[in-house]
Symmetry: D2
Subunit: 313 residues, 4 copies
C-alpha cells in the first residue's frame, strides 16, 4: 500500500526559507517572523490522496484538487501544514488574536520578567473617527489640530504609566502586581503555532474590511508576505473561493432569479414577503437584510427593483 | 452592570421538554433521544448582548439579531447552548460521526461488556448502486433479484459473525479480542454532547445531499425533530443563510455581472481565462469548476452562455 | 437497551439553584455568578455507565465509581456536565483566564460599547513584594508608608487614563482606538461556559498556591462556592486525588524505598546518581529536583538523608 | 528584543531524519512511519524562554528546564513541536485511537476507494483469555487446541466477509454501502498529525499496562522508536515524571507518614476512617481504593499494616 501513496513531494519551500527568521515590521514597533514550518501545497495534496486512495488520481491534477478541496470546505488536508510565527504585538490586538483557540501559544510573561518597554504610539494623522454606520468600526480621520492634541495626551499617559510601573519595580513590588496598570498598548511577544486551515480561518476574519486596523495589518502581512510564499496554490484558491466570494441566501437567489428574467414585480413580492420592504409613512424602514442584499446587487451591477429614495435610517 | 444584562429569558423549552428521553427511531434498530439541554434562542441573544453591551439594544430585535449573527458567522453566541443526545447507531456511521472533534463522547465499551447483539440490516429494495458521477456516492437501487441475493448474503454473514463472536466469548476469550471481527454494521450506543454552533456545523455537512444516507437519516432527525423544536429562530436562520445558501466565487460574480448586462461574449471571455472552456478536438473538456457554476446558473434559471452540447466526460 | 441505561437521575441541583444568578463578590468590584448549568454527579455516573454497560453495575456504587474515574483520569464522563458563568474581572486576570482554550466565551466588546468605568484598585496594605525564591510569585507586603504612596500613584494613573479615554470618546475618536491605553486593571465582563472536566483542570492550576492572587480568588469561589454545591461527590474526589495529591517520580520512589528500610547510604547513592547532590567546595549546589523532593519528604515527616546545612543558593 | 531570544537551535534531528519515511512493522500487516516533523528538544526550550524572558536564563540549563516543565505540567512549550505519522492499523484499534481529539487526521476513505484487502489475523498462540480481575483486560492465553480452532474460525469469517464485499462491488453496489459488513479487523490507513504534548498524553494512556495490546504495540513503537530519537531529553523527563511516576492521595500520604514513623495503629485508624477496612463476618470487604494503595506500598517494599489474609473479593 505504501508505494501507492509514496509520490514524493519536496518538503522545503525555498521562497519561505528565504525569509525564515526575518522580521516584517508592523505598526510602530511590532513585527512578525516565521520561526519554522511543516508541509507545503504538496502536503495538502498528499493528505487528500490518502483519503481518496486511487479514486481521484488520474482525474484531477494537483492544482485542481486543492481548488476542489477549498471550494467544498474539505478542510482536513489543510490541517496537515503547520507554521510557527514569532510576533511582537500590542496587548490590545493580542486580546483579539488569542480568541482564536485552535493554536499553540507561548507568550512573554510579565510575571517572570520586566514588561517590554514599548507601547503602540499614534501619529497625529492616525486618529480615526467613530463610524456611525458601523457601530464597531471607524471612518475617516481626526483633523490635524485634534490629532496633535490626542498624540500629546497619549504620550503623557504612556510616560506616567511607565514611570509608575518602574517605580513599583524599583520599590520591590512583585512584577505580577506592578504590571496591573500597564496600558493595553504595551507590546507583548509570543510564539504562535497554527495549522494552515485554522490560519486561513483567522485570515478570513482578520483581513476583512471590518476587522480592526491594527490586527488587520498583522493579518495582511501573514497573508500576503508569508502564506502566499508558503502555499501559493492554496492561497489563490482561498482568495477565489473563500476570502472574495459572495454568499446568497435562499430568498436572495429567488429574487435574483426573477431579476434575471426581468420580472421586477415578482422580485418585489418576494422581498416584501421576506420583510425587507416595510414602510412607515411611505418611506422604507431600515432593514439590515435588505441593505446587505443591495450591496450584493451593486456588485452585480443590478439596479434595485424597489424605489428607496426615501429610506428611514 | 448586572442589571443591564439582566433581561430574563425563560430557560426551559416546553416543546423540547415534551420529547425529552423519547427515542426517535432511525434505520432498522437505531435511535436518537435528547437526554438534556442548556439554553435556547434567548440564550443566544443574551450572550450576544453581553458582547455588544448597550450597543445594539434598541436597534435590533431578537430575531433580527440571531439572523444577523448567523449571516455574519458570529458564532460564539451559538456556543452558549448545549445539548446531550443518546444515540444507537451502526459503527460504520459512527466512524464518520466521531470525526467531528469538538464534542464530548461516552461510547458503549465492548471491552467492558458484551457487544450489542444487533446489526444494521438491509431490505432487498434498499441496495444502492455506485454513482458514476460522484465517486463517493450512490445513485439508484439494485433490482429485485439482485437485492434479494444481497440481503440473503448479508444475513449469512451476520449470522456467522455473531456465532463466531459468541463462540469466542463462551470459550473465555477476552472481550477486547473477541470483538475484533464484528461487522461495521454492528450497533453501538453513545452519549454525545455538543454546543449549538458545532451541532449546526455537523448538520450542514451531514444533512447535505452528498452525505451518506445512513448518517443523513440521523442528521435529519436531529435537525428537523430536535433543533427545530429547541431553537426555532436559530434553525430558520441556519436554513436561510447557511444550509440553503449559494456561494459565488470572484470569477463567478464577474461572469454573472456580464450575463445580467446581456454581454455573452465578455462572459465567455472570463470563463475562458478561468480555464473552464478548454477544448479537445472541438469538444469541451470536463471541468469541475464549470460544472459547478452551471449548476448555480440553473438555480437562477440562466442559460449557459457557451455551447456545451459536446462535452467530453 | 434503553431500559438498561434508563436509571433516572434527578437533573436539577437545589443547592445550586439557590444561588443561580446571585453574584459572589471578588476583588474590589468583580463578581462571579452562575447563569445556567447542565448535569450533576448523577450525570457523570450515567455517562460512565453507558461506557461500562452492565460491566460495573453491581460492583461499584455511585460514589465509588466517581472516585475511581477521578483516580484513573477517566475524564470523559466529567465532560458530560456543563456550567455557564458570568464574570466581571480585571483584564489582567482575564488575560490568564482566556489561555484555557477549551471553553466558550462571549466577552463585553469595547469596540461596540463604552469601556466599563471601573478598575481594580489596591489598598495600601495590599501591595505585595517580589518573591526571591519564586521568580513568578510574590511574598509578603510592602510597609504602610510605601503602600500608601503606591495607592496614591495608582489613583493618579487611573484618573489620567480614564480622563484621556473620555476625552477621546467625546472628541469622536473611534471606540476601537480610544481604548488602546486603558490600564490592564480595567474591568471587563464575560460569559464563560465550560465542561466540568476542563473546569477542574482550570481550578487545579488556578487554585494552586503559586497561582497569582487575583485569579486565585476567582478560582476559589468557583471551587468552594459553586462546584462544591453543584457536584459534591466529584468535588471531594477531585480534592483527594487531584488537587491535594503528591506525585513521586521513579527515582523518588526508589529513594523512599531505601529510606523505609533505613538504608540511608543506598538512598544517598541513588540521589547522587540522579544529580541531586553535586557539590562545590564541599557545599551542596542548588538543585530544583532535590528541593522539590525535600518538600515531599517534609510532608511525610522524613528527615533528609543528606546533610544540607551548607547549601549554595 | 529579537536578539535576546535569538539563540539558535539546529532544527533538524539527524537521528529522526534517518528513519523518515521508513515503516516500522506492527501486528501482522500494520506499520507506522514518520512523514514529517517540526521542532526538537531545543524548540521546547526556545518556546519556554519566550515565556520566561530573561528570567530563568542563567539559572537553569536546557535539560533542567525541560525536566522542570514536565514536572510542573507546563505543557505549552511541548505543543511547539509537531509530528506527522502515516499509520496502517486495524479499524478496531483505530476506533480507540481516534478518540484522542486534539490531532489532525486524514483517513483512507472506503467511500472513494475499494477497502484495503487485509485484516488483522491471529496466530493460534495469540488468543488471550478474559481477565477476571480487570473487567476490560485480558490475562493469559488459550491453549493450543482452542487457539487453533479460533484461528480457523477467524479465517473462515474473514474469507466470507471479503467474498461478500467483493461480490457486492462486482454487482455494482455503492462502495459506501458495500463496506457495511467489513470486520473491525480490516486495516485502514491514515495520516495523523499531533503536537508533542498531546502525543505524550496519548502515549501515557496507550503504553500503559492496561491499554489493549493491539494499540499498545503501536504506542510502544511511537514512544521507543520515534519520540526517543526525536526529543531524547523530553522523552527521559516524560518517563521519569509522568509515565513511571506514582501518585498518592492526601489520605495515602497521611497513612504513609504514620508508617514511616512506625505507627501502625494510627495508620490503620486513618485507613478505617477512609472506608478501606470495612469488614463482613470478620473478613475485609473488597475495596478498590485499598487495593490500589496496597500496590503502591508494594512498590515501596512496605508491608500492609492490616491483616488481609481473608479478603472477600
Amino acid at each position: 500500500m505504501i508505494e501507492k501513496f509514496e509520490k514524493l513531494y519536496s518538503i522545503s519551500v525555498p521562497e519561505l526559507d528565504e525569509i525564515l527568521g526575518k522580521p516584517f515590521k508592523v505598526l510602530n514597533d511590532g513585527f512578525i517572523r516565521v520561526i519554522d514550518y511543516m508541509g507545503n501545497d504538496g502536503a495538502v495534496v498528499q493528505a487528500a490522496r490518502v483519503s481518496y486512495g486511487k479514486g481521484t488520481k488520474v482525474i484531477i491534477q494537483d492544482r485542481g484538487l486543492i481548488r476542489y478541496l477549498m471550494r467544498h470546505k474539505h478542510t482536513t488536508p489543510f490541517e496537515m501544514c503547520e507554521i510557527k510565527l514569532h510576533l511582537r504585538i500590542p496587548m490590545d490586538a493580542w486580546r483579539q488574536w488569542i480568541r482564536h483557540r485552535t493554536a499553540n501559544v507561548n507568550e512573554y510573561s510579565t510575571r517572570y520578567s520586566i514588561a517590554i518597554d514599548a507601547t503602540q504610539t499614534t501619529l497625529p494623522g492616525e486618529w480615526r473617527l467613530q463610524s456611525t454606520a458601523n457601530r464597531q468600526g471607524s471612518s475617516g480621520f481626526a483633523d490635524e489640530v485634534l490629532g496633535k492634541e490626542m498624540t500629546q495626551d497619549e504620550k503623557k499617559l504612556h510616560t506616567l504609566a511607565r514611570s509608575t510601573y518602574n517605580k513599583r519595580i524599583d520599590a520591590g513590588i512583585a512584577r505580577e502586581q506592578a504590571r496591573k496598570d500597564l496600558p493595553l498598548s504595551t507590546y507583548t511577544e509570543a510564539y504562535w503555532k497554527v495549522d494552515l486551515h485554522n490560519l486561513l480561518h483567522f485570515l478570513r476574519l482578520r483581513m476583512e474590511k471590518n476587522a480592526q486596523l491594527e490586527i488587520r495589518k498583522y493579518a495582511e502581512i501573514i497573508g500576503n508576505e508569508i502564506v502566499q510564499r508558503w502555499v501559493p496554490i492554496t492561497w489563490e484558491a482561498f482568495m477565489d473561493f473563500s476570502m472574495n466570494s459572495t454568499n446568497f441566501s435562499l430568498k436572495e437567489m429567488e429574487v435574483l432569479k426573477k431579476l434575471y428574467r426581468g420580472d421586477k414585480k415578482e422580485a418585489i413580492k418576494i422581498a416584501e414577503e421576506s420583510g425587507w420592504l416595510r414602510r412607515k409613512e411611505g418611506k422604507l424602514v431600515k432593514s439590515l437584510e435588505r441593505f446587505e442584499f443591495e450591496e450584493k446587487l451593486e456588485k452585480l451591477g443590478i439596479e434595485f427593483p424597489w424605489n428607496d429614495s426615501d429610506v428611514i435610517l
